[in-house]
């Protein structure tokens, strides 16, 4: 396909999207997908959260895993940035700390795909020093 340079190109591309119905369903039922939030506060950004988020979006698409990746604000775990919260359908959210690309890859392959836990989970009951 030719390069998208104008809004008209985008419009054409959109009408070419074959799985429009599937897309609509995804928007209607976000609960049936893996939901991933990347901590994107100052501390997260400074330690590479954007690169981790770019990697997650690309890797999940390539590996055909249905997931919604969004950015979150401050999760309160600055010492462990970048942090990523993963919620599998019907399960409790889990927060992983110190996530680089290798860790993100491990989270996809082990936790999301096989349900195995990986190192780096931040316990839910952890309270920051200020609390």
């Amino acid at each position: 396909m030719s390069k998208i340079k104008t809004l008209a190109d985008l419009k054409k591309m959109k009408s070419d999207l074959q799985s429009k119905v599937e897309l609509r369903e995804r928007a209607d039922h976000p609960d049936s997908y893996v939901q991933i939030k990347v901590g994107m506060a100052t501390s997260g950004i400074a330690s590479g959260a954007k690169e981790v988020m770019d990697f997650l979006i690309e890797a999940l698409e390539k590996r055909n895993i249905e997931a919604v990746v969004t950015q979150a604000g401050d999760m309160g775990y600055c010492y462990a940035e970048p942090t990523v919260e993963v919620t599998k359908p019907g399960e409790e959210p889990i927060v992983f700390g110190y996530v680089d690309q290798d860790k993100a890859d491990e989270i996809i392959e082990k936790y999301i795909r096989k349900g195995e836990l990986v190192d780096g989970i931040i316990p839910k009951n952890y309270q920051s020093i200020d609390d």
Partner: protein, 181 residues
């Protein structure tokens, strides 16, 4: 922050936290005047004068999880290191405007960074908020407006991966056209 794009990503989080529905990001590159200007303007809830006065102080933050907030402080430092400065104006109920100026050719001016990636990430990651991004360089300019994009997309979510890729291409090609990239 390593570059301007990451600063933008960071500062815009403040606008999102302030419940803005429209965020305008403007980058002006004036080569003859050797000046780079970054403006981020939102229609969020704004700040009281007293808070505004100490907004670039690292010990000022609205968050409750801890007592430091480095975003504006880091941008101010980077602007001043490049012979520029930071100005923040705000009005409660109306919105906030952050303006950073850098000397374009200064060796300590942060590079532009992955501006395309950041704009797409913001647009797709905050679907309930609209973004208006203008990049001007030497009289030429490019405008990316998520309201136009959403209009075209109808009911397809702006966060869809294929839409993300298309928006990336759209912004990249147009910035290349005006010699930003």
């Amino acid at each position: 922050m390593k570059n301007l794009a990451l600063h933008i990503l960071d500062i815009v989080q403040n606008s999102i936290s302030a419940d803005a529905s429209l965020i305008k990001i403007r980058i002006e590159e004036h080569i003859p005047e050797d000046c780079l200007k970054l403006v981020i303007e939102d229609n969020g809830k704004g700040m009281e004068k007293e808070f505004l006065m100490r907004v670039a102080d690292p010990y000022t933050t609205t968050r409750t999880s801890r007592k430091v907030g480095m975003g504006l402080a880091l941008l101010k430092q980077n602007a001043e290191q490049a012979e520029g400065g930071l100005q923040v104006s705000s009005e409660p109920g109306k919105g906030t405007k952050v303006e950073a100026i850098f000397r374009h050719s200064h060796i300590d001016r942060p590079a532009l960074g992955d501006i395309v990636g950041v704009i797409v990430l913001l647009a797709a990651g905050s679907p309930n908020c609209d973004f208006y991004y203008v990049h001007q360089k030497d009289g030429k300019s490019y405008i990316f407006d998520t309201r136009e994009i959403k209009n075209i997309l109808d009911d397809i979510p702006i966060s869809d991966t294929r839409i993300r890729l298309s928006m990336r291409e759209l912004i990249y090609e147009n910035l290349k056209e005006i010699h930003v990239l």
